[in-house]
Amino acid sequence: MITFKNFSVFHQKKHLLKNLNLNFEINKVHVLLGPSGSGKSTLLKSINALIKEYDSLQIQGILNFKTENIYDMNEQKIKMIRKKCSLIFQQPSPFPLSIKDNLSIVLKEHKTSLKIEKLLKLVGLWEEVKSNLNLNATQLSGGQQQRLCIARALCTQPEVILFDEPTSALDIKSTIAIEQLVLELKKDHTIFFATHSLEQAKKLADTVTLISEASIIEHQSKTKFFNSPKSKLAKEYLSYFTK
């Protein structure tokens, strides 16, 4: 369970996340909806403590992973959190190494017994690259790179996978492949999926969280969110997209 209690993130005096009070259950797909700059990425980066990389950001409140506040943890525990909560960035970011090395360096570092073949099969990339595992990963297409990044994130055997608009730069075919993969991964992982797309939210979500201007507008199950949204902004958002 991931719990936010009065959690805020500031940049100087500007709120990037404002007084969040949320519970996210395990083994579900939590879709974060909202316009650009609303705070979706900040929320995801808060969960794996990557916002600590930005020294201009200040953090207030509590963000519990299971029972422990991430922001009270020492450096060693933060590393464990990053291992347990893998982040997939908006832009595919494979290392400028071969496809095989992109996975093997992470597998070696974390001493996991997962097989490269199994990981690539899981993300549906094996058939496309099996004959050329030594190809530099930067030469793959955007969709293939993103799936490789998902495979790489799985190397740490995470409990939570954080997807930060992973399909925003991809074509329809790659987008569908990643959406199917998310539904597949849901069986064993808790998934956070930031997106602009209501269609994607409908396909993937168990819960939907609508964020606007750093605040939570609506946090509901998918059915409730799409059938009976409470807030005015959520209704407007839905009507705008269904027009």
Partner: protein, 270 residues
């Protein structure tokens, strides 16, 4: 007007360089031949060549670059990794690195003399000279190497942190490869600076003009040899110019390597 002043200032600089190279070339080329490069100096350098001087110079440069590579890379990586999200500390440390970079080389020479020659008992030797030179080059190397590291796409660093990879793994697999041109550039510029150094070596490596057989022997570098020939040996001006020509060619080579490294980095796909 601006165009004219640019042309004028460029021409002035070019003329100065041409005058210097013409003077060195016209006076030194006559003495520069295979014998000059392959014979040891005699009569303090007035006769013979500069073979032992070249060996001493390369010896000192090789040793100092080994120290700079090991220590400099270690410090740069630690600073890069641990100060990546601490801008204030970064600024403060960079201020002191720049301060060290501005220190006159004679200060390093005096420190090297007291610490390496006297305190550690290494005496006037190639090792004392190399250690002093490496200390002198470290701030410059660290700054250049860090500049190269800062140019590596942030997405690789964030991915690495997000995947909880250690600094060693990140360095071995990504940072070293991505910043190899930066490393070559930093080394070649440090070498060029070290090769031209006189003051720091006057107090540490000594004046002996024979070929050193071990790092604990004293040795005379090209720059000290030029100083000796032009200041203390009468009638050795042509030899001094020829030695200067050799030193200029060595420095030019290092600079060319650095230019090539920058060109490679600029054209490398990220």
């Amino acid at each position: 007007m601006l165009k004219k002043s640019i042309y004028l200032s460029t021409s002035c600089i070019l003329l100065c360089y041409l005058f210097i190279f013409y003077t060195i070339g016209s006076q030194g080329l006559g003495s520069l031949n295979l014998d000059f490069l392959s014979q040891n100096p005699e009569l303090g350098g007035k006769e013979g060549g500069i073979f032992s001087i070249i060996i001493s110079t390369l010896y000192i440069l090789a040793l100092s670059i080994i120290f700079v590579l090991i220590i400099g890379q270690g410090i740069s990586l630690r600073l890069f990794w641990h100060l990546r999200n601490k801008k204030k500390y970064k600024k403060l440390i960079f201020f002191f690195i720049d301060l060290l970079n501005c220190l006159p080389s004679i200060v390093f020479g005096l420190f090297g003399n007291i610490f390496f020659c006297e305190y550690l008992g290494l005496g006037y030797s190639i090792l004392s000279g190399a250690l002093t030179l490496s200390l002198m080059c470290l701030p410059f190397f660290i700054r250049s190497y860090l500049n190269g590291l800062e140019l590596i796409p942030k997405k690789y660093i964030l991915s690495s942190i997000s995947l909880n990879l250690s600094l060693w793994t990140t360095y071995r697999t990504i940072l070293f490869k991505e910043n190899l041109p930066g490393l070559i550039g930093a080394i070649s510029l440090s070498l060029a600076r070290a090769a031209a150094e006189t003051a720091a070596l006057l107090f540490t490596s000594g004046y002996v003009d024979s070929t050193p057989s071990s790092p604990l022997d004293s040795g005379r570098t090209l720059s000290i040899h030029i100083y000796e020939l032009s200041m203390n040996i009468a009638g050795a001006d042509n030899k001094a110019y020829a030695t200067t020509l050799v030193l200029c060619l060595i420095i030019l080579t290092f600079n060319m390597i650095q230019k090539w490294a920058i060109k490679t980095k600029a054209s490398a796909p990220s």
